[in-house]
């Protein structure tokens, strides 16, 4: 009995969590889209500030990681392709895996580590120091003030970062292509362009927008769930990261299966 009891409790907890996320996302979306028409403009300067922190400042680490991932993909692909004497397909393999899957995913992972955790820590600390209460008593909606700029920044910046990650991945692949598979740089890029379909890039970008929404929602939600005390901030930051990675993978699975079925 206790076994079923715990399954039931877990399921209810899971639904409540997703419900909480959906409510927060709904409020933030409402305040972003409808709010400006009701005299509640989005603070563009705050959104720009967030976009800098989420996007521009992530470029060095994201470039390095995706460059190496591209190179690794090429090496791993070549290991198998070499058996068939089909090394010229390395370029296409790297391009498709990067744009459809690893570009958006690696970007999401980097952004979770840098920004998802930061959102939870920032809002969590503000909960502990009563700053969120202070906003409420000043008649400033905490969701509008804290969450909306983050949503806007993430939904715009993640596709941009993903595009850059795709490009860096291809560049990483090209290093192997030139040194290990007798491509010229121009020839490698040409092979990449020939292999890619528009929908490969677009499906990747659609996923990245979704990832941006999920990461912001989880980071901010965990932040608002923070109780009293400094150790609570640590707890929310940890669960923001773990939960974001989990949900990003789930969303990835759902959308990848959806795209697969749609394109059959």
């Amino acid at each position: 009995m206790a076994f079923f009891d715990s399954i039931g409790r877990g399921a209810i907890g899971g639904f409540a969590y997703v419900g909480g996320l959906a409510r927060l996302t709904g409020r933030a979306a409402y305040l972003t889209v409808v709010g400006p028409f009701r005299g509640k403009p989005v603070r563009m300067s705050r959104a720009m500030h967030q976009a800098m922190a989420v996007g521009i400042e992530a470029l060095p680490i994201l470039s390095t990681i995706t460059f190496f991932v591209g190179l690794i993909l090429a090496l791993q692909g070549a290991y198998e392709l070499r058996k068939f004497g089909a090394l010229q397909y390395v370029a296409g393999g790297v391009a498709v895996s990067m744009t459809r899957e690893l570009g958006p995913l690696m970007t999401a992972i980097v952004v979770i580590g840098r920004s998802g955790s930061a959102f939870a820590a920032e809002i969590g600390t503000m909960m502990v120091t009563e700053e969120v209460d202070a906003l409420t008593t000043m008649a400033i909606n905490p969701i509008q003030f804290l969450v909306t700029p983050k949503f806007l920044a993430m939904i715009v910046m993640l596709p941009c970062l993903t595009t850059w990650a795709d490009f860096m991945g291809v560049l990483g692949g090209a290093v192997f292509g030139i040194t290990g598979a007798s491509f010229t740089f121009h020839g490698y890029i040409q092979a990449t362009v020939d292999a890619l379909l528009q929908r490969d890039i677009i499906t990747g970008l659609i996923k990245s927008v979704m990832f941006g929404g999920v990461i912001t929602a989880v980071g901010c939600y965990e932040g608002f769930q923070t109780g009293a005390g400094a150790e609570e901030v640590g707890r929310s930051t940890t669960s923001a990261v773990v939960m974001s990675i989990f949900l990003v993978i789930i969303v990835d699975l759902v959308f990848t299966s959806l795209f697969y079925m749609l394109q059959r």
Binding site: T129, D133, A134, I140
Partner: protein, 272 residues
């Protein structure tokens, strides 16, 4: 809903009950606050005075009862409707609750930027004026982390006053401050009340400070009102629990032998 309170009553609480889940914290509290008076809410730790404050400013929803603020019943209002009332109230938090990512000046200017159409230069002037009123002139470019405890509280008062509120709330204004700084905060409260005819509601358990600033005092114990009156009435009060608080007598170690036995055996027939 009952009748609105008289014109000179700015805040009226009627049979207010607040519960967190199963536990009821306030068991039906009623009192009136007149315009331009200073009310001090006193009580021991965990008596429900902080909950009362949070409920008055709308951070906590009452489970039943009415709260009339400036002639409007607020406990049934939505968050958006409540915001209009909130703009006329200011709350100075115990720890200051200044936004760490902004300077002191930006903290004070924030409510004005959010709620008014004023020019930025005007907002800057108001901000400096408010900081000057709390004795922090010239500190607008400091970060909150660079301020001492007393200065943080003063900055929080300046922020709470930014919108020229009619009611100013203080949560434990002198907690954690040395006696000289605490006295400075007391005289600031007195000055604000005299200069701006503000209604001031202070939650504290510092006796000296309470008797200095209060017009009237409200004492809460275990979620009920124990005594309510002027400070003279309070001083002459004969209620044992009030006397114990005012004369600083500690709780007796063992109230009753049976209670003690029950505590030891883990049986607790008396619900909290």
């Amino acid at each position: 809903m009952s009748q609105p309170p008289a014109d000179d009553v700015i805040l009226s609480v009627r049979d207010l009950r607040v519960r967190y889940g199963e536990r009821e914290i306030l068991h039906g509290i009623s009192f009136d606050v007149k315009k331009a008076e200073t009310l001090v809410i006193m009580g021991g730790s965990g008596c429900g005075k902080s909950t009362l404050l949070r409920t008055l400013v709308g951070l906590q929803r009452p489970s039943s009862g009415e709260i009339w603020i400036r002639g409007r019943e607020t406990s049934s209002l939505s968050h958006e409707e409540l915001d209009e009332t909130r703009k006329k109230m200011g709350l100075s938090f115990q720890g200051g609750a200044l936004f760490g990512s902004m300077t002191v000046g930006q903290n004070v200017a924030l409510p004005l930027q959010e709620h008014t159409e004023l020019e930025d230069t005007t907002i800057q002037i108001i901000m400096r004026l408010k900081l000057e009123q709390v004795g922090l002139a010239g500190f607008e470019n400091y970060n909150p982390s660079q301020l001492s405890g007393g200065m943080k509280k003063r900055a929080a008062v300046a922020r709470a006053m930014a919108m020229d509120p009619e009611i100013l709330f203080f949560d434990e204004p002198s907690a954690g401050l040395d006696p000289i700084i605490a006295a400075g905060i007391d005289s600031l409260i007195l000055k604000l009340q005299k200069a701006f005819r503000m209604t001031i509601i202070v939650v504290t358990h510092e006796l000296a400070s309470a008797f200095l600033i209060a017009d009237r005092m409200l004492m809460i114990d275990k979620g009920n009102i124990l005594a309510f009156g002027t400070k003279e009435e309070m001083q002459d009060c004969k209620i044992p629990r009030v006397r114990q608080f005012l004369d600083r007598v500690p709780e007796p170690e063992v109230a009753e032998e049976m209670d003690y036995l029950q505590m030891l055996t883990g049986e607790n027939p008396r619900p909290l």
